[in-house]
């Protein structure tokens, strides 16, 4: 069953259309990441589901309950959502235990029972021993785990995560992502996860919805959207890539700058020949070899060692492309090499056409 269903949702701030005809649904137990740059409308989408803002058109359903439409707006507290905020949203005058007990008290649980349950939830997110601290005495990561425990205590039908890791440093981030995923799986509730970080979206979510200028532009699994982005904008949003112009000859052959390479794993297009296609090549989709070893030729123009990989820029007959080679390499600018893409994705549409 669809835990969250959004149909033709439109939100306006005065003359500005913040969301324009959004259609989206999330299954029970599924996490959907909404990925977009700032100002794209992703937080607005979350606010509309939570009930923090009114909608101008369309409908939002949670389970079989209509929670928002142009005419109807169910109060926030009756929507069955659990929200985790970007800047934590912790009440400065309450201890961690009181904070987590708060939703339980609102469910009319007796104080003693609520506190006991809150203690269990805090233990579940690894905060045993910090129950009696106020937010001022907790680190950012600890504060956000209190926020997570509070959302868990709400017993929501839909979790709403509003860039929960944006204010944390990278070390904390991975731990919290893992925890969010694990706790959400335990509850079996649906989750909407707003983020601007593609890596985070891929780690956390089952599906990713790319949002741009108030519209959804692609909704797909993490793998699908990474290996087959619908347009150039999505390709760049979801990770590093080079886009070259090439002719698609058949299901696994490309002609780049006059040179032909076959055995390329191509994404969706398989029918016939496409001239002047725009092809996405991710840095790790390229194989590189000594001159003459592989079908395509190139000259190395820059080499930057970055630890886990070395980033090389190759001047090829189809233009400059960026390649990531695991570990350190012995290449230098000016070296003649050969290369081939192992995988490539043909862009199906222009970025300007935004049909969702």
């Amino acid at each position: 069953m669809k835990a969250l269903r959004i149909e033709k949702l439109t939100v306006r701030y005065g003359p500005v259309t913040a969301l324009d005809g959004i259609d989206l649904s999330i299954d029970e137990g599924e996490i959907l990441a909404v990925l977009g740059p700032s100002g794209s409308g992703k937080t607005t989408l979350l606010n509309a589901v939570a009930g923090f803002i009114d909608v101008a058109g369309g409908e939002i359903w949670i389970d079989d309950l209509l929670v928002a439409s142009a005419k109807r707006s169910l109060p926030i507290e009756r929507r069955g959502v659990g929200v985790v905020f970007q800047s934590y949203g912790l009440w400065p005058h309450m201890t961690a235990l009181d904070t987590v007990a708060y939703p339980l008290r609102r469910q009319r649980q007796p104080a003693a029972k609520a506190r006991e349950r809150a203690g269990e939830l805090l233990a579940r997110v690894g905060l045993t021993g910090l129950e009696h601290r106020r937010p001022g005495l907790l680190s950012g990561g600890q504060q956000q785990r209190v926020g997570l425990a509070r959302a868990l205590a709400c017993h929501p039908r839909v979790f709403l995560f509003d860039e929960p890791t944006a204010n944390l440093d990278s070390g904390m981030r991975a731990g919290l992502q893992e925890q969010i995923r694990e706790q959400q799986q335990r509850t079996g509730a649906a989750a909407l996860y707003v983020t601007h970080d593609p890596a985070e979206a891929f780690v956390v979510a089952d599906r990713v919805a790319a949002i741009r200028d108030a519209r959804l532009v692609q909704v797909a699994t993490a793998r699908e959207i990474y290996s087959n982005p619908a347009d150039e904008w999505i390709a760049r949003l979801t990770g590093q890539c080079t886009i070259v112009s090439a002719d698609v000859l058949d299901a696994d052959s490309l002609r780049i700058g006059g040179e032909v390479v076959s055995g390329v794993q191509l994404g969706s297009v398989t029918t016939g020949e496409v001239r002047d296609a725009r092809v996405v090549i991710r840095p790790e989709w390229v194989q590189i070899g000594a001159a003459g070893e592989l079908p395509l030729t190139a000259t190395v123009s820059a080499v930057v060692f970055s630890g886990a990989f070395t980033a090389c820029t190759l001047q090829t007959s189809g233009g400059a492309i960026t390649v990531h080679i695991p570990g350190a390499v012995v290449l230098e600018p000016g070296d003649e090499v050969s290369w081939r893409p192992t995988t490539a994705s043909v862009l199906l549409r222009e970025t300007s056409t935004l049909a969702a």
Binding site: A50, G51, F52, D54, P75, I76, E77, R79, V81, G82, V83, F85, Q86, S87, Y88, G89, L90, W91, P92, H93, Y102, P103, R106, Q107, R134, P135, G136, G147, R150, A151, A153, C154, L160
Partner: protein, 572 residues
């Protein structure tokens, strides 16, 4: 755990584990001495100013009050004094409640609800800051009591304005801006919308989330506002002078005035009452400052309201508009009609209008008083901005906090107490001239200049000055290029605040003037007490217009507006 491991390896890896600390120890005395030398001139000036303007007079006053045993017993045994104390407590508590309900209520309503016309209403609610208390009281009597505007127009007059009730209400009107500003500031800094959203998402309805989240967050600010309103009301002289004295209702400040102006009993009673006011003010404000500071930060998130506009929000707006109209706009109008009516007591119809009162006000003894007040205001404001820059530079070093706290004392305590302390200390040399009033003003208003200027100095980014020095500029030139532009608006704001406060000052000067050397505030009060309502109103109107015009930059410029909050907020 990781960090512990790191520090251990760092220490064991370093061949000289203590070399770092040792170097710091060796360097420190030199640099501190250098700083000391360059600042010692400023220290001497500032410390001398503090001793003359704060330490000596207030030390002397408190010593005189409490060195003789049985002072408090004496206080309680004289029914006159206990009546005055009771009067102050009753009217100030009443005013405090009034201000919290109106000002705090409006602040919370503006922040939580969608009140139409918020900006305009805010301006209206803050208007009393710009109108001197005694003129506010005066305009109320000219409008709402017998022979006032409402009497002429509708036969309505409200004689309860004279006495305890009227004093309480008008004191309350005067304190509304304080309550509004403090609670609004707290609401905006602490109450991020996310906190309330989190409560709602946790299952709380609007009422519960206000009760369990919003109100507890605002409680410290509400307590602080209550303390400030109480002390400000207890310190006020102008309102009870106009409204309580005619009804023979006494407060501490009017009692001090009576004892000094009309009785030959010496300074004994004023000293005791002043000391009492000082102690109460400092204790209450100290506690309030602690309350307000002890609270925690809120996250800095969007502050858009959660609530949608409802029809009753318009009703709140109308009610507040009516309030502003009744207590600020209409009384000023009433004052103007009296000033423009040729003969006092005639109904204010166009055929009775004339400019004779205003002409008399500008040519008679009031003209000299205007000149004296202007001279005092310009001199005091100019001296104090220099003092504030000097003291502000010290504020960044050790002992700076203590300096800042001492500077605040004369502004936090009642003006009457400042006047008594200055008179007690310097009266035997300077009584009878403008100098003693100037010294009292310097003492009382230093904090007004200090706060914006010290705040600006504290926020100056040191990098541009360092860059200027590194590019070859001298210390003075570097200061001129990088610090001066950053603090210039605050210096202007501080100057203007002191200037305005001196211009309409009454409480201090009424205790220190001699006949023939009145300030403009004293002229208004004396004319009022002499029953000359026409010229009282005319002078008061001119003074109010002058103050409003001078205050315009403070209200219009967004950068300067924040300073207004301090002038109302007093010691906090």
């Amino acid at each position: 755990m990781v960090s512990t491991a790191n520090s251990v390896t760092e220490q064991s890896a370093s061949p000289h584990p203590t070399s770092r600390t040792r170097r710091r120890v060796r360097l420190a005395p030199t640099s501190r001495r250098l700083r000391w030398v360059s600042l010692s001139g400023e220290w001497i000036v500032v410390l001398a100013g503090l001793v003359i303007l704060v330490g000596w007079p207030f030390g002397r006053l408190l010593w005189d009050a409490f060195s003789t045993p049985g002072v408090l017993a004496h206080l309680w045994n004289q029914s006159e004094l206990t009546q005055a104390i009771k009067g102050t407590v009753v009217t100030s508590l009443g005013a405090m409640v009034f201000a919290l309900v109106v000002g705090g209520g409006a602040a919370i309503a503006f922040w939580r609800l969608q009140i139409p016309g918020q900006k305009l209403l805010t301006g209206g609610l803050l208007l009393p800051i710009l109108v001197p208390p005694f003129i506010c009281a005066l305009s109320m009597t000219q409008t709402y009591t017998a022979a006032g505007l409402t009497d002429h127009m509708a036969g309505l007059h409200f004689e309860w304005l004279f006495g305890a009730t009227g004093t309480t209400v008008v004191l309350g009107v005067q304190q509304v801006p304080i309550a509004f500003l403090i609670i609004a500031a707290a609401a905006h800094s602490r109450g991020s919308a996310d906190l309330e959203r989190a409560a709602r998402a946790s299952g709380a309805n609007a009422v519960t989330s206000f009760r369990t989240v919003t109100f507890p967050l605002l409680r410290p600010a509400i307590l602080a506002a209550a303390a400030l309103c109480f002390i400000a009301a207890a310190s006020d002289f102008g309102v009870p002078a106009v409204l309580a004295i005619p009804a023979r209702y006494a407060t501490i400040t009017t009692q001090i005035y009576r004892a000094m102006a009309f009785s030959s009993g010496g300074l004994a009673d004023p000293i005791t009452l002043s000391a009492l006011l000082i102690v109460v003010a400092l204790v209450v404000l100290g506690a309030a400052a602690k309350f307000n500071r002890a609270t925690v930060m809120g996250s800095r998130a969007s502050s858009q309201s959660v609530v949608r506009r409802r029809p009753w929000h318009v009703a709140v707006s109308v009610l507040l508009g009516l309030y502003v109209l009744l207590v600020s706009i209409f009384p000023l109008f009433g004052l103007a009609t009296v000033a423009f009516t040729r003969v006092y007591g005639e109904s204010p119809v166009p055929s009775h209008w004339g400019l004779n009162n205003l002409r008399d006000a500008l040519t008679g003894s009031a003209a000299g008083a205007f000149g004296r007040s202007l001279l005092l205001s310009v001199c005091v404001a100019s001296i104090l901005v220099v003092a504030a820059v000097l003291a502000g530079r010290l504020g960044m070093h050790r002992g700076g906090r203590a300096v800042g706290a001492l500077i605040t004392v004369p502004y936090a305590v009642p003006g009457s107490a400042v006047a008594v302390a200055i008179l007690l200390t310097f009266g035997k040399w300077w009584y009878g001239g403008l100098l003693i009033i100037a010294v009292a003003y310097l003492s009382r208003f230093w904090a007004l200049a200090q706060q914006p200027i010290a705040a600006a100095l504290g926020q100056v980014n040191p990098e541009p000055a360092r860059a200027a020095r590194a590019s070859g500029a001298s210390a003075l030139r570097a200061w001129w290029v990088s610090v001066w532009p950053a603090i210039r608006p605050s210096i202007f704001a501080g100057w203007l605040l002191v200037f305005l406060s001196c211009l309409h000052e009454l409480t201090v000067s009424v205790l220190l003037y001699v006949p023939g050397r009145e300030t403009i505030g004293v002229i208004v009060l004396n004319a009022e007490q002499g029953g000359d309502m026409a010229s009282t109103s005319a002078i008061a109107l001119i003074l109010t217009i002058a103050v409003l015009l001078c205050a315009l930059p403070l209200v219009v410029s967004r950068r300067l507006r924040s300073v207004l909050g301090f002038s109302a907020g007093g010691a906090l």
